[in-house]
């Protein structure tokens, strides 16, 4: 799976967001959860959305499919074209046809996302019936087939079990089978492995990679773990305080981050290699209060490279000279010297070797 050469399908992105903005109501006022995001995903590719809690990465994806309660959304602006149709212009009824049918979702906690009183195959049969009109024996056969495709051993027996009888990893596989039931064109995986153990996480992420390649699906992988992103995405969008910080091919962003926030995130994470026992490069301070209108860069208060301009003008996404990707920064981190090698623990070179 080498995506370096732009394929014809990559020219026409499956999902294309322009100036996508979501403001939410909270007791402390309006929160700018997502602020002017421009991003596109093509078929057969994985876009990782990375950020810490409150960065807006989950709100972004949930609001796309109308999964946020109406009362919570204060404002939604911009466009979100999915295969040529603007999702923001669709009503609940039309969105429901997109949800589950053309876009599948996998959530962090499979236990709360599955109905505990229905056997597994019946939950998978629900969308099969609704969207494809499959019933009875045909639906069950398809459900068993799907369970088999997500690597559940003995799928015919597992299909009759209840979610409580399955382990966490199994439940997440069931969730993925459910999301895939109607052959979606886009799969949104919101922290799909955060609740799982590391050995199971590795299995699930590899499964997602395999399914994406087999079905030529587009995948949006939301994660806070840069290691996961390095191994399992083609492009990455780093978000901070609801805004885009950096966007581009994963290898380029992680090997040569230009926005100081991305650099700091990479440095702050402890690794299995390299020096140990010294202080981690922590980022001082706290993320900004999102109910406040920020006049400049959201990261200015914590940024080691801050300049006067950073506090007064919001930086736009631009491609800094000598970079293969875009960053929103007035004073970008210089690219690493050629030949100097990467200093990140999660090196993109290793990623390339692991994916080929």
């Amino acid at each position: 799976m080498n995506h370096d050469a732009p394929s014809p399908s990559a020219a026409e992105p499956l999902l294309n967001l322009r100036g996508y903005t979501v403001h939410l109501n909270s007791p402390r006022g309006t929160v700018r959860a997502v602020d002017g995001v421009d991003v596109a995903v093509a078929r057969g590719r994985t876009l990782a959305v990375v950020g810490e809690s409150g960065s807006g990465k989950s709100v972004l994806c949930r609001s796309l499919l109308g999964l946020l309660p109406d009362a919570a959304v204060a404002l939604r602006a911009g466009t979100a074209h999915f295969d040529g149709v603007d999702l923001t212009a669709l009503g609940e009824r039309e969105l429901r046809d997109v949800r589950g049918r053309r876009v599948g979702m996998v959530f962090q906690d499979p236990m709360t996302a599955l109905n505990p009183v229905l056997p597994v195959w019946r939950q998978i049969a629900l969308p099969l019936k609704r969207h494809l009109g499959l019933r009875g024996r045909a639906a069950k056969a398809r459900a068993v087939e799907l369970l088999d495709s997500v690597g559940i051993p003995d799928p015919a027996r597992r299909a009759d079990q209840y979610p409580l009888q399955l382990s966490g990893g199994m439940r997440q596989r069931v969730m993925i089978a459910l999301a895939l039931s109607c052959d979606p064109e886009l799969l949104i995986a919101d922290e799909p492995t955060t609740a799982l153990d590391v050995t199971v996480q590795a299995q699930i992420l590899r499964l997602l990679d395999r399914l994406r390649a087999e079905r030529d699906m587009a995948v949006i992988l939301i994660s806070h773990d840069l290691g996961v992103v390095a191994d399992h995405s083609d492009d990455v969008m780093v978000m901070y305080a609801g805004r885009q910080a950096e966007l581009g091919p994963t290898a380029s962003v992680l090997a040569a981050p230009r926005m100081p926030y991305t650099r700091a995130l990479l440095d702050a994470a402890p690794t299995l290699h390299g020096p140990r026992g010294q202080h981690l490069a922590a980022i001082g301070g706290q993320p900004p209060d999102m109910s406040r209108l920020l006049s400049g860069c959201a990261f200015a208060d914590r940024c080691p490279r801050v300049q006067d301009r950073c506090r007064t003008e919001v930086p736009a996404m631009t491609r800094p000279p000598g970079s293969a990707h875009e960053a929103a920064c007035w004073n970008p981190v210089p690219p690493p010297r050629p030949g100097g090698g990467t200093v990140t623990g999660i090196s993109a070179a290793r990623r390339e070797s692991s994916r080929t």
Binding site: E52, D197, Q203, D231, A268, L272, R276
Partner: protein
């Protein structure tokens, strides 16, 4: 008013890592699940020396948190010996237990749930001092200020309630509370797991500083191998209530000998790993553990012996113990 005015329960160790502070022998922790008893920890030996940090890693359900809770005397159904500073505290009560509790501090995973939502930060940090008794209110107030300073909490935060603070700040409060009575041992149960990467680094750094300053021994429990590697002097790996491997940190990460430790390291994202090195399947239920070696159902190297005889830890290199019939020989 300084720390020295407060009763320091024991003279701090000689500074050198040497004398065992905590020795856990044959620890078993039992729970009941729907009337059926099962062992979350099934015979565990651990040794923690003064001033040393022992990392305890394993997946959820392996019993690592039960170990910490048993050492903190929070588990009702425990057998085995917990020898702290030469005394078995597994079954003590009354005055001796109170004295022991002052020498052991504990920090939990969930930063918000660890703090009473109805109390202010000041009250929360003062609680262990009030329980210890013997301090007047000015001494307590001074000590609270000192602790806040130690963990990097701005004094203006002292009058806030937990829900008015971020996760990282709450975890600092928990650490301050655990340090209030100048303990010799700090039990950290997944203390950075709920925090974002940037905040996690702050708390890890704080723990490293405090450990130096207070000459603390630490039992650092986490599922995150990278964090454990960062903080620990020695690492013990648990699987389904039993100990797999126990070695100095660099030795363990460079030459893992137990197949489970290998698989665990291979699973960490961001590492080049062939699919074949990954484990298949899930953790078996602790209600019905496999016979013999508990890891054998997922072990790529399992043979017939593994199903019959539970392996006992044996030393394969200096201070490197492995509980496996067929440890991977990794001569450098």
């Amino acid at each position: 008013m300084t720390t020295a005015d407060l009763p320091v329960s024991a003279p701090p160790g000689t500074g050198a890592v040497g004398r065992p502070l905590l020795e856990v022998r044959g620890l078993r922790v039992r729970y009941r699940s729907g009337g059926r008893p099962f062992e979350a920890v099934a015979g565990l030996d651990l040794t923690l020396h003064q001033g040393e940090t022992l990392g305890l890693v394993g997946e959820s359900g392996c019993g690592k948190s039960s170990v910490a809770r048993a050492v903190a005397r929070l588990e009702p159904d425990v057998s085995g010996a917990i020898v702290f500073d030469g005394q078995d505290v597994a079954r003590t009560g009354g005055r001796a237990l109170k004295a022991y509790r002052r020498r052991v501090g504990m920090v939990f995973q969930d930063p918000i749930a660890s703090l009473n939502p109805r109390r202010t930060v000041r009250d929360i940090i003062a609680t262990p001092l009030e329980l210890a008794g013997g301090h007047d209110s000015t001494a307590i107030a001074a000590r609270v200020g000192e602790l806040a300073d130690l963990v990097g909490l701005h004094p203006s935060l002292l009058d806030r309630h937990p829900h008015e603070m971020s996760g990282g700040q709450c975890q600092r409060v928990s650490i301050a509370r655990a340090l209030a009575c100048v303990p010799d041992l700090l039990l950290c149960d997944e203390v950075v797991s709920a925090l974002d990467v940037s905040i996690q680094a702050q708390v890890v750094n704080l723990l490293m500083d405090i450990r130096e300053q207070q000459r603390l021994a630490m039992l650092f429990i986490s599922h995150d191998l990278a964090v454990v590697r960062q903080l620990s002097d020695r690492v013990a790996v648990m699987y389904l209530g039993t100990l797999c491997e126990d070695a100095p940190v660099d030795e363990l990460f460079a030459r893992p000998a137990h197949p489970y430790t290998r698989a665990l390291l291979a699973s960490v994202p961001g590492n080049p790993t062939p699919d074949t090195a990954l484990l298949t399947g899930d953790l078996p239920s602790p209600l019905t553990p496999p016979s013999g070696c508990r890891f054998r159902t997922r072990c790529p190297l399992a043979r017939d012996t593994c199903a019959e005889i539970p392996p006992t830890p044996k030393q394969i290199r200096p201070d490197h113990h492995v509980a496996c019939h067929f440890p991977i020989d990794a001569t450098p």
